[in-house]
């Protein structure tokens, strides 16, 4: 468990094995030390701060060697309310500051864990009375969340980053304690294009994505650019709210979209489009939507925040099991939630679906639900924001990523929920066979021939 290894120890090994050499991994060593949760939590918070301040192992070690761990900790805690943050984190099971909460969602299957947690009692289990409120669009959900009408909200995973940086809205420190779903999006084209399966022939197409700051936008641009189309020149990409996409596709206003489900399946269901590819074919395991809350909520209501995130993590784990998918589909289909035909949602969630061209596809991993907010996801998103000119100048990738994507918290809460969290805050992944190395974001951007930055 790399995240709980002590970053204040200048002698800990960087590679495999633990600091005392007796265990074959640091995780095993830590377990042997049998820390109680309190200490572990404290250490996780200190560790996160230490890492955020000194992201490079080399620098951190040199600094620690020179001044010593105690001094370093004292020095840092002068500037940062470490104690406070530790307290915020530690009070598991403390009294909830607020039990009646409002959580906003957009009616798409990405929000499945957030929605189903209400009727299926995941919130109630942690003593919360959560009202899940359907919201009209991403800009509205952002504004309502910033205005504190919602205590927490379903957002697209790039949105907390954009809000924190003040891109497209006033800057408000925002956090993303959990990812909702991975995969689960698709490129849908109008039926009249069923012979144009080669993206190179898509010049002049009009595409829709749900929002400017969305994985959909970045994935579509990435996909097009890999086929040599400049998304800002050769095609038109507009931001259209998901419910309007099918209507626009039917009217011929757009040629296709990269959209969240159930919109893609709905286009097939209504006989206006076909599914060109699933988003997992672009990047298998990409994050999409997120559960987000303001930093203020996290710090002023730590117990409520933890209970809420735990409910979400548990619901996410439940949703990830294939055998639960059918029952979930019928729970979230009524007008109170997604307001969609059950069969559409079943096709999305079970991955046995009509592709719109007369075939039945079986892709059980069409959508999956994994809560862990890897920091490398955030860094990739930031590279794409920069690549397409949404952010300019120098970006402190690692700092923003660890401030917004609360991977360390998620680890602890996943453990509390009896789940096995991943071993590291970051992971390497491939987007269309191209490896992404989170340590070298600028080089990654420069490696693309088609880019704005």
């Amino acid at each position: 468990m790399a995240s709980f290894s002590n970053p204040f120890d200048p002698n800990s090994k960087l590679g495999k094995g633990c600091q005392c050499g007796q265990h074959n991994s640091q995780a095993a060593h830590d377990e042997a030390e049998a820390m109680n949760t309190q200490q572990l939590g404290d250490r996780a918070v200190e560790g996160a701060i230490m890492r955020a301040l000194f992201p490079h192992d080399e620098t951190r070690r040199n600094f620690l060697r020179t001044v010593g761990a105690g001094t370093a900790f004292a020095a840092i805690s002068q500037f940062l309310p470490i104690n406070f943050m530790q307290e915020a984190f530690a009070e598991t099971g403390g009294a909830l500051e607020k039990t009646k909460l409002k959580v906003g969602f957009i009616p798409i299957t990405c929000a499945t864990p957030i929605i189903m947690a209400a009727p299926m009692g995941f919130y109630a289990k942690h003593g919360l009375d959560v009202e899940v409120v359907k919201t009209a669009g991403w800009a509205v959900i952002r504004d309502k969340a910033i205005n504190k009408e919602y205590d927490a909200a379903h957002m697209l995973s790039p949105m907390p980053l954009a809000i924190s940086m003040g891109v497209g809205s006033a800057p408000v420190p925002w956090t993303m304690p959990a990812v909702e779903n991975i995969n689960g999006q698709a490129i849908t084209l109008a039926l009249k294009h069923k012979d144009k399966r080669d993206p190179k022939s898509w010049k002049g197409f009009k595409f829709a994505v749900p929002f400017d700051f969305s994985m959909h936008n970045y994935l579509l641009r990435y996909y097009l650019a890999e086929f040599g189309l400049d998304p800002d020149v050769d095609v038109q990409i507009r931001s259209v709210p998901p419910p309007e996409m099918v209507a626009n596709l039917r009217a011929g206003n757009i040629d296709g979209f990269l959209a969240p489900d159930p919109v893609n399946q709905r286009a097939v269901y209504d006989g206006v489009g076909f599914i060109h590819i699933l988003s997992k074919e672009i990047w298998d395991g990409h994050p999409c939507c997120a559960f987000s809350a303001s930093k203020e909520f996290v710090t002023t209501m730590p117990n409520t925040y933890q209970a809420l995130v735990k409910s979400i993590i548990e619901a996410t784990a439940y949703a990830n099991k294939d055998e639960n998918r059918k029952s979930i589909a019928s729970v979230i289909a009524p007008a109170n939630y997604l307001n969609q035909p059950v069969t559409v949602l079943e096709q999305v969630l079970t991955g046995t679906y009509a592709d719109g061209l007369g075939g039945i596809q079986k892709v059980p991993t069409r959508v999956d639900f994994e809560p862990f907010p890897y920091e490398s996801f955030a860094i990739w998103i930031l590279t794409q924001m920069k690549r397409w000119g949404q952010i300019k100048g120098d970006v402190n990738y690692q700092k923003i990523a660890s401030e917004v994507f609360l991977a360390t918290d998620a680890m602890k809460l996943m453990k509390d929920a009896g789940l096995v969290p991943p071993k590291s805050n970051t992971k390497k992944f491939f987007v269309m066979k191209k490896e992404f190395n989170p340590a070298k974001p600028e080089e990654y951007i420069a490696s693309f021939p088609i880019r704005k930055a």
Binding site: K134, N147, P243, D270, N339
Partner: protein
């Protein structure tokens, strides 16, 4: 003009309605779509009925709409949770918002319009502002309102307020400024005090014009509410439309359109009655 029998207009209305319904019915009659013989029944089950049969139009027939209307009207006050309430409850929310926004607008516009109407100088000075602000669409105000007011419920009411204030303001000012000189002169010769003159002479004389302004404003407020609620969501008839659109249920959208139209008509009729009551024959 030749006199016509009193029942003639009503009958003509009904005939027009029947022709309209007939055309609608014929145009949306399900074309006996040829079922593709190669279509896998397993596959067809995964599609919507219309797509599977190869039917082009998904426009509902009048009978579908009546069915749906009956379903909604039968149980207008059900409450299946935050995001699914009966159409009666939704209308009540919308009416509450409209009356609040419109009421506030009337409270501001009528006294203010009175002042402007009494002073030609103010009238001329403020006219450009009113003319610029009047044609702004409610949807254009919404982001600004959300950003500054920071509360979506108040924002919706603000948008109704700001959109329905102008016709009332202009009509009040116009009505007050065009009261016949003779009446004012007569009042002056009788040494009527200014306040008394305002209430006893100018107000009654301008009342029909003011009422016309209020009718236009209420119509606008009812137009605005649907747009505002579609954007802000949560409750109201506008949210109902949006929620059904989300499900691509054109039938329900048409039902909502019908209901919106009827409520708008009732509101206008009510104000029309008040107008008759305040105006007098010379």
């Amino acid at each position: 003009m030749k006199n016509f029998k009193p029942w003639l207009p009503a009958m003509l209305s009904i005939i027009i309605l029947l022709i309209f319904l007939g055309v609608w019915h014929l145009a949306t009659l399900p074309t006996q779509g040829t079922i593709d013989p190669n279509l896998d029944p397993e596959y067809a089950k995964l599609l919507g009925a219309s797509a599977a049969v190869g039917q082009k139009s998904t426009m509902p027939t009048p009978a579908d709409v009546l069915d749906k209307l009956w379903v909604n009207v039968k149980d207008p006050f059900y409450d299946h949770g935050t995001n699914d309430k009966g159409i009666g409850i939704q209308i009540a929310y919308s009416l509450a918002r409209v009356s609040l926004g419109f009421g506030l607008a009337a409270l501001v516009a009528i006294p203010f319009g009175f002042l402007i109407g009494m002073s030609p100088l103010l009238y001329k000075a403020l006219d450009p502002f009113i003319q610029v602000l009047k044609p702004i669409s409610p949807l254009a105000w919404m982001p600004l309102a959300l950003y500054t007011i920071k509360d979506s419920a108040i924002s919706a009411i603000f948008v109704i307020f700001i959109c329905s204030i102008w016709p009332m303001l202009i009509n009040t000012a116009f009505g007050v400024s065009t009261v016949r000189r003779e009446w004012i002169n007569v009042a002056r010769t009788l040494e009527v005090k200014p306040l008394r003159m305002a209430f006893k002479v100018i107000l009654p004389a301008a009342a029909p014009t003011i009422m016309t302004g209020m009718r236009i404003s209420l119509g606008i407020a009812w137009l605005v509410i649907v747009a505002a609620e579609m954007l802000v969501g949560g409750t109201g008839i506008g949210y109902f439309v949006w929620n059904e659109w989300n499900n691509l249920s054109i039938t329900s959208v048409i039902v909502a359109i019908l209901v919106i139209g009827i409520i708008g008509m009732i509101l206008d009729l009510l104000l029309g009655k008040v107008t008759k009551w305040v105006s007098f024959k010379e």
